[in-house]
Subunit: 318 residues, 2 copies
């Protein structure tokens, strides 16, 4: 009910606050957020895009709240790919926490996209918790960027497996890939990685499929994190046909600009062939029911994830 | 190019900064903003709406920038009509100024909707400058709220006329209406006001017409400021048919949720019968060409106005 100036928090303060929150609590918050989203208990606006030509840049604004929450969140995320020329990271962003009772702003989290990175990894861990075989023998990470590291780091909270294989377009980066507590081995091909691992995460900016239907044997789970616009694609669309469970974070978003959209547009799987992650949270029978099944999940990122993490961090900072 | 924490400015600081800016400069900035908007030199995203049920509230998020500008602006505007129950004003809001070169946030203007109120009044003054008869004999204000006061206050910068008449639903408020330097007389009806004044501004939350075609004689200009959603209506749609020049701030917005939309939907005036204010700025021949003409303008508020005022204030604060 404050009429005062909202509090402004720096990335350093936000990272510190996040360190005081148990990762399991963030993962649980993602479960609740997806359940609310798929259960119609979330209030999420369409994503707004603003494009810039010179220098090239993309800005996305997402707004949303969960039914019954005291706050709602507006997130501004910017990507300017030539920022390195001026010594800045490409991504920036902030989350603004506002009162759902009065509309007044409460806090500004100038996280510079860190909360988006972290909630994306937490959603990956949640997806593994929902769909991966109960006995994970080895984790395969396709990609070597920040998100690839965060995905593996968060998976420690949902599986005792500490054996990982990594593939990257750049073998130097694959060899340098390290995450505390994991035994990580670089592999020469995505096919090789898919042979060795029964939990596979793709997290690249690929624009053509890296993982093919014939690579993926029974008893495996695949999460595709990388495709968040129509130009990006990580999975062979036929993998969706081969899978027993085909999950998406958001039907609307994934059919529009996720990996699942390729399978739908190419007539490989009908829209009815997909289930939302939140629906699986609400009804686990919609997920994996047998260890030999193949499960695939496609995530594009939904505003409820931003709401969930911003709320946790705001509470930790208050 | 800053990677630092953006600067956070309070409403008090923003009001002080605005006092250092000549109102004529704000009005001129509105002219440029509308010219850019109608000339295709503005980058404006669709308005995002988030609705709340309990307590009832509406949040709108607008984003945009002008071609060539160093900054772009995201505005969050909230209206929670029961805030008075907890001692807060209904409206709040902030404008966030971000770099159009890197995407990084530069400043947060926690103006609590003041900049929106001010830019709306500045657009009213600009509209009078564009369309009112060159000799304004008397100004008629329909409405007695904050915006009614601001409209008259800003008009002093575009006309030497200091004679005003005011009509309000609440006669007590109409009698109490004062703006420094103006001789204001309350009148008993909108029709009476339209007889006496050749520059008329409606700025109410009316949901049914207040000003009728038969009230408006030749040589008058009418600006309707109040209608910003489909449920609101201030003007008799037949007034648009009677007018020689029918202006809108934005075709898309006004046909969707402005007063002009009623005239279009009821088949009274075709869409081609309207001109945008920015088109008149770019080509004055599209505006008033004779003192005896009737001109009508419908404003719903466009994001370029937010961009223009946020930029001016940001520069004054820097």
């Amino acid at each position: 009910l404050s009429h005062r100036l909202p509090k402004l928090f720096s990335k350093a303060q936000i990272v510190q606050a996040l360190e005081r929150i148990a990762p399991e609590d963030v993962i649980a918050a993602m479960r609740r957020a997806f359940a609310a989203y798929s259960g119609g208990a979330a209030n999420v606006s369409p994503v707004v895009h603003l494009g810039f030509a010179d220098p090239p840049g993309d800005v996305h604004v997402k707004c949303g709240g969960l039914a019954g929450d005291d706050v709602y969140v507006v997130k501004i995320a910017a990507g300017f790919y030539r920022n390195s020329e001026v010594g800045l990271p490409p991504g920036s962003g902030m989350m603004i926490v506002l009162s759902a009772r009065t509309g007044f702003p409460q806090a500004i989290l100038d996280d510079q996209a860190y909360l988006t990175d972290y909630r994306t990894a937490a959603a990956g861990a949640m997806t593994a918790q929902l769909l991966a075989p109960s006995s994970v023998e080895a984790i395969g990470i396709v990609g070597t960027g920040l998100q690839a590291h965060l995905q593996l780091d968060l998976l420690r909270h949902v599986t005792p497996c500490r054996t990982a294989y990594v593939w990257g377009r750049d073998p130097v980066k694959a060899r340098a890939f390290r995450v505390d507590g994991f035994d990580v081995t670089p592999v020469a091909s995505v096919g090789d990685l898919a042979q060795r691992c029964n939990l596979i995460i793709t997290t690249t900016a690929a624009t053509h499929p890296l993982l093919f239907a014939h690579d993926v044997m029974s008893g495996r789970h695949v999460t595709a994190m990388g495709s968040d616009m129509t130009s990006k694609q990580e999975l062979d669309p036929n993998l969706f046909a081969k899978a027993d469970v085909r999950a998406v974070d958001s039907r609307t978003q994934c059919f529009d600009h996720g990996d699942a959209g390729f399978a739908v547009r190419e007539g490989i799987v009908p829209e009815e062939g997909f289930v939302e992650l939140g629906e699986i949270v609400n009804n686990p029978q919609l997920g994996r029911t047998d260890k030999n099944q193949i499960t695939v999940a496609d995530l594009t990122g939904v505003a409820v994830q931003d709401v969930a993490i911003a709320k946790l961090v705001y509470e930790a900072l208050s």
